[in-house]
Symmetry: C2
Subunit: 266 residues, 2 copies
Amino acid sequence: MIIIGEKINSTLKSVRPAIEKYDAAAIQSLAKRQSEAGASYIDLNAGMFYQDEPDRLEWLVKTVQEVVSTPLAIDSPNPKALLRGLQANKNGKPIINSITDEKERFDAVLPLILEYNTSVIALCMDDTGMPETEADRMKIAESLISKLTKSGVKLDDIYIDPLIRPIGTGSHYGRVAIETMRMVKKEYPDVHITCGLSNISFGIPLRKIMNQAFLVAATAAGMDGAILDPLDKKLMTFLYAAEALIGRDDYCMNYLTQFREGNLVE
Amino acid sequence: MIIIGEKINSTLKSVRPAIEKYDAAAIQSLAKRQSEAGASYIDLNAGMFYQDEPDRLEWLVKTVQEVVSTPLAIDSPNPKALLRGLQANKNGKPIINSITDEKERFDAVLPLILEYNTSVIALCMDDTGMPETEADRMKIAESLISKLTKSGVKLDDIYIDPLIRPIGTGSHYGRVAIETMRMVKKEYPDVHITCGLSNISFGIPLRKIMNQAFLVAATAAGMDGAILDPLDKKLMTFLYAAEALIGRDDYCMNYLTQFREGNLVE
């Protein structure tokens, strides 16, 4: 599983003050701990500071790469902020989080992918809004994959995110997300599938349980990337269990190693 | 989800003495508690007492139906024991656990299904043994469904169990079980899918986590029956979460009700 560590995000109440006060030590600690916990990418988001998001995103990039060499997920809907983050990046090939099939956003982000040779998370959303059914999401995924590959982006650099809507607002949204993942992975085995897990449980009780269940169901449907908190040991336990369960972990070696190292919790 | 409560089973060390000593109060307590916890069937198994299994199974049936009206799962590979259990049954339509595609066992159990008008759990196993791949399991499932329906058993009375082998003995066994479930449910939407969950985790650490993960993945693949311990609140929490997640629980009403009644735990 390609783990995108989500902790350095200005939308998180516990993290926002550290970005606000340019608290490098706090940010660097979060970066190091996520990296040690197995993050393949460290996500960096300063989107709540819309006055000076580009400055702050650049600061996050510079601050984090002082202490870890883990590749970065440069996270913004704002192409200007993405550009500043990419210009500052020295941690190997980054991933842009994210592009959509909205014309204006697509046209603004595509040149950044090509110029900075990045991977990219592509959200199943276009100018008509957020699609309702799995067929509609699949159509947008196909459109995104087609346009990106025609522009020279490799399949292996594309991470399709079906967009997770809370099951509390529509009982079908979990099934729709899971089935979209299955369809995309079947049609494009070389494309990666990812998503932000926690939106699924917004507004319902025992959110952690629902997030753990969704992680398992999505992994079984072909999700091979996940934007999550790698410091959440329980969630990571379900991640390793899900990978062993669906046969992605030969002889359960990784599960057993993680267990022996004390990283799994019941 | 059709829950088959697995607690009254002579293979369980904690339960065996109660069957051995004909401890009606202990057995009746297990029956009542499982029924209250939502069991659709109470499984009764006296298989460890091979000297007098039919007598003991009959005793279990009579003992349990003194206190609950929940239908029973008469659990034995031994047709003589099944017959005695069925003769004693007064709790409505029972389910036989189980038939296989082994010729001798099939021919002995089929008449009991027909004479006593029961549902039946059909294990994907034949005279060549336990099949390795999902295609081989599907072939046996098709053979069982075809023979049962030709004999007059309704699709809705058949519960296919793909047979769960421990992922500790083969990393592919989880995937094989899950994919078999998906194939059977796709081909025969009216047939039920069930399994005994806990075999998946035999021999690996943190078995409960793996069982919870497997319950979620199997439910997402179409499993609509499960042989499990309904007194395990954590497992039941994942069951309700999985059903809400895949859209089987309109407006998450059942999940929310169970939460309000204090039946869910994090």
